[in-house]
């Protein structure tokens, strides 16, 4: 990857090296587990071995007899304090520690507090819990049956149905489908997966009995929202909760929800008056914390015989596990799944989702995706390929025929979105040309004639990110704006604080670049600080590709507020009127007299030393940005694979990602985001699934069973881009972190199915493991 030279002058669009990297690559990051406080105790969790069982008794006497063990807390203890249950972001509630029964394997049943982590873990083994096993449901299609055991006995509703959600015009869509020349139907499952950040979740709860203040060091993607929720749950006044999210080693949505471990650690610290540290093991992270996807989808897509799409009808069964702990905006129980019409101009569409409880870990978080957008994108991109196959049409040609054309933007989709911008055909054509698509199709024919299994897959996805506009987007009632505060110091350096919290996205660099661009300051002299609720303005955090669309916009707008004041100071310094000044070449110049100018550094010094009479000193601003719309990044991904007939192994021979994320702040960081997301998409397509057996045993509890690709397995990635700025975002940016995870699974699977299509294979569900492909080959007569 070529890195452009360090910026001079304008800093937007330059591949500035990441300011945070020196501390990370020299091992100087400060992660949660690096923090050790005086008198700190350690917490270990007692887990349920059963997926569904009644708790008959808990005996902690042996654990408490160990020297150095201070406390054992059970669900009953928390229940007595009114903390047995806690609200979920989805409007459900979940047990903090199990009360009366357990609903999934590895559910938190009790916690042990001890002088060392080893002692706490040993003592946890001595807590004896007597269970009465109950019937287990791991399949949502079993869960929906009328005679299925009711899992959530605490609810008034005596079945396992969580919610029904629908959008679009069912009647019109069904009528249109009946009149279509061609209708394809495809069942597609997006398997249960897990974000698996390298750093698991954890916290240190430090309650000071003298001050009544709780300091909570926490692996949090949304520190302010967490502060509010902890205040609501525990009753501690919000000003007395100070959350510090130190360096976070990956989140991908996994560190958005509030987990029982956090609450238990807080309670333990309240009771003991000592700091309590809890850090998950890898197994705990994979088994207890929120999963992603687990959607069973079925699409009906109708088109004319020459391939113009007419109607899309989608029915989805969602497996939410034991509690509805999905991290979706309040009014969107199925997230933004209604983006399932993708990049295509459907006259009519209808989508519905029914969610069910099962005896599995709760969740449904937006793993590197803007709330169910990956599921939607995968469904439509797979189904478009099925339609192309049915019509005998090239999948690229089919897409080009059906894209929303540029002149239709802002485009009102059949399912209610207003797409802000896009030039889909241009993006795909650029990808096809760079991929040498026509030639590769010819080569594919030649290789097929030699007996090779070679496939080419496309995905031309549209995302919807940047949640979101306050009239529709909130989490537990809190509007999903975001914020920034900028203070310019007398010497022309600055500090930027934002309500977001990066976990590897490079905010310390990109936020500095935005300020550098807007104010003409050197990004190297701009400190970015996030993750401290005592200092940063209130924001909703970093997930769902929302940071640049919301906080990035807030930073630009705060900088512009500063510039407004700076213009007044500049006029005073230059002894001209404000109207005579223009912001040009990153300084205020007198119109037509470029030599008569002042820089922001000079203005900053004057803001503290030489002000117009009556002006308030200082140079700072805060901005809360409520986005007028979401942003709609998109892309065209192409993938070529070959398949070993003997082993079922898929080799990705070439992968090209052409993204359009609007204006780019730092192309190196964008490219890095795309590389990371593609690697995750590759893992999802070929390796990863959270599997349960029929008894609810979790069979992906470690990295031997839940595979994370290394550089060895990951293919080479080629990237390119088109630039269609968002018309409503202050700097025209759209967000990119999640596009590759959203767009790539369909490209991989479409390529594999294309390779297998001569055998009559139309679909195989992910993950496309060697075994699954090998079996499909054998079932279709390939015996090599």
């Amino acid at each position: 990857m070529a890195i452009a030279e360090e910026p001079t002058g304008h800093v937007m669009g330059h591949a500035m090296k990441r300011k945070e990297d020196p501390r990370f690559i020299t091992g100087q990051g400060r992660y949660l587990d690096d923090i050790v406080l005086p008198r700190m105790l350690y917490m270990a969790i007692v887990h349920s071995p059963y997926a569904h069982a009644r708790i008959k008794s808990i005996d902690a006497s042996a654990a408490l007899q160990l020297p150095g063990v201070h406390l054992v807390l059970t669900g009953a203890d928390l229940d007595q304090m009114g903390l047995g249950w806690m609200p979920t972001m989805a409007g459900d509630r979940e047990m903090t520690l199990a009360v009366g029964k357990v609903l999934y394997q590895y559910q938190e049943v009790a916690v042990v507090l001890a002088e060392s982590r080893a002692l706490a873990e040993d003592a946890a083994q001595l807590v004896e819990v007597e269970y009465e096993p109950l019937p287990v449901i791991v399949d949502p299609f079993e869960s929906m049956k009328p005679d299925a055991p009711v899992l959530r006995e605490d609810r008034e509703q005596k079945d396992n149905h969580v919610f029904h959600w629908e959008v679009g015009d069912r009647t019109a869509t069904e009528q249109l489908l009946r009149s279509c020349d061609v209708v394809v139907r495809q069942k597609v499952r997006f398997q249960r997966i897990h974000p698996a950040p390298l750093e698991p979740c954890g916290c240190i709860a430090d309650f000071n009995k003298a001050t009544g203040r709780l300091t909570l060091y926490m692996t949090s993607q949304a520190p302010h929202a967490h502060r509010t929720v902890f205040s609501m749950v525990t009753g501690i006044p919000e000003q007395n909760i100070h959350i510090i999210s130190p360096d976070v080693g990956g989140g991908f949505g996994n560190k958005v929800p509030i987990y029982p471990g956090y609450v238990a650690a807080i309670v333990a610290s309240l009771k003991l008056g000592r700091p309590v540290k809890w850090v998950e093991t890898r197994t705990e992270n994979l088994t207890e914390t929120a999963f992603a996807r687990d959607y069973h989808m079925e699409a009906e897509l109708g088109a004319t015989k020459d391939g113009v799409v007419q109607a899309l009808k989608v029915k989805t069964i969602a497996d939410h596990g034991a509690f509805d702990a999905a991290a979706d905006p309040s009014k969107f129980p199925a997230g933004l799944f209604s983006i399932c019409t993708g990049s295509y101009d459907f006259p009519n569409a209808f989508a519905e989702v029914d969610a069910f409880y099962t005896n599995k870990t709760p969740g449904g978080i937006a793993y590197r995706c803007s709330f169910r957008v990956t599921e939607a994108s995968y469904l439509i991109e797979r189904t478009m390929d099925v339609l192309a196959d049915e019509l005998g049409m090239d999948p690229a040609e089919l897409r080009l025929k059906n894209f929303v054309p540029p002149e239709k933007f802002p485009y009102h989709s059949a399912l209610g979105w207003t797409y802000d911008s896009g030039r889909y055909a241009e993006t795909l054509k650029k990808a096809l040309e760079r991929f040498d698509y026509t030639k590769r199709r010819q080569e594919q024919d030649e290789r097929r004639r030699k007996g090779e299994l070679v496939g080419i897959g496309l995905s031309t996805f549209t995302e919807v990110v940047g949640a979101g506009p306050s009239q529709t987007f909130d989490i537990m009632g809190i509007k999903m704006f975001d914020s920034a505060e900028i203070r310019v110091h007398p010497t022309g350096s600055a500090i930027v604080r934002a309500g977001t919290r990066h976990q590897g996205q490079g905010h310390e660099t990109t936020w500095a670049q935005i300020v550098g661009e807007e104010l003409g300051l050197d990004p190297q002299n701009i400190l970015v600080e996030e993750g401290d609720t005592d200092t940063a303005p209130y924001g909703l955090g970093t997930y769902a590709s929302r940071s640049t669309p919301t906080a990035g916009a807030a930073i630009a707008m705060a900088a512009r507020r500063i510039r407004e004041k700076a213009q007044k100071i500049a006029a005073y310094l230059l002894e001209v009127s404000e109207e005579d000044l223009e912001w040009r070449d990153q300084k205020f110049q007198v119109r037509g007299v470029p030599s008569k100018a002042v820089t922001m550094q000079e203005i900053a010094f004057a803001a503290y030393t030489n002000l117009p009479e009556g002006m308030e000193p200082g140079l700072e601003a805060t901005y809360y940005y409520d986005p007028p719309n979401l942003t709609f990044p998109n892309g065209a991904y192409l993938c070529q694979v070959s398949i070993d007939k003997g082993t079922g192994e898929v080799k990705v021979e070439k992968f090209l990602a052409v993204d359009d994320c609007g204006n780019v702040i730092n192309p190196m960081i964008v490219e890095g985001q795309i590389h990371g997301g593609l690697t995750e998409g590759f893992a999802i397509a070929f390796m990863q699934e959270i599997v349960y057996d029929e008894d609810g045993n979790h069979l992906a509890t470690n990295f031997s069973d839940y595979l994370v690709p290394t550089a060895w397995e990951a293919p080479d990635w080629e990237t390119d881009r088109t630039v269609t700025p968002s018309p409503h975002h202050p700097i025209g940016a759209k967000g990119v972190g999640e596009s590759p995870n959203v767009g790539s699974p369909a490209a991989f699977v479409n390529a594999v199915i294309d390779a297998l299509s001569p055998l009559g294979i139309r679909h195989i569900d992910m993950p496309l493991t060697r075994e699954k492909i090998w079996r499909a080959l054998r079932e279709h007569g390939i015996e090599e």
């Binding site: 007692v46 887990h47 349920s48 071995p49 059963y50 997926a51 394997q105 083994q125 004896e128 819990v129 007597e130 269970y131 096993p133 197994t283 088994t287 057996d693 029929e694 008894d695 609810g696 045993n697 979790h698 069979l699 509890t701 470690n702 069973d705």
Partner: protein, 168 residues
Amino acid sequence: MQLHYEGQQSVDGSVGEVFRFICDAHNVGPCTPDLVDLDVLDAAHFHATVKVGVGPVKGKLKLEVALLPQEEQHSLTLTIHGSGMGSGVDLTASAALTPSDVSHTVMDWQANGSVSGPLATVGGRLLDKQAQRIIEQVFVNVRDAVNRLVNTSASEEGTDRSASGGGS
């Protein structure tokens, strides 16, 4: 994780001798493999602590075992409930005795049950073979114990009945 195993042992001794042996927890309890601690409550119940190692999961399990003999069928059912290492084990095993000749007995056994927790999840890939080995070992130990008892008695009486041995 569901388990099902079955096998057969040929045991020295008449059906009556073998049945009397296996109906007493004082005899069966010590046949538990990898035994750390044994507490025989009465002839029909014992508690045992055993060492278990399945892949990366190593530790101790506490077993509660109940013997339910069916006199007329010369058969025995054992219910085994175990917990430990954050895991749960629930097994029902049975042994049915039939004479192969006047002084030898065929013991057909089977075991069904489930394992949950880290034993099933972390050790899942290795559990099946390991569990089969352990359960087989119980019946091999029973066979050997009966053989020792019967042959010791026989040698004291001046006869030799050790013609059998193996099993499957």
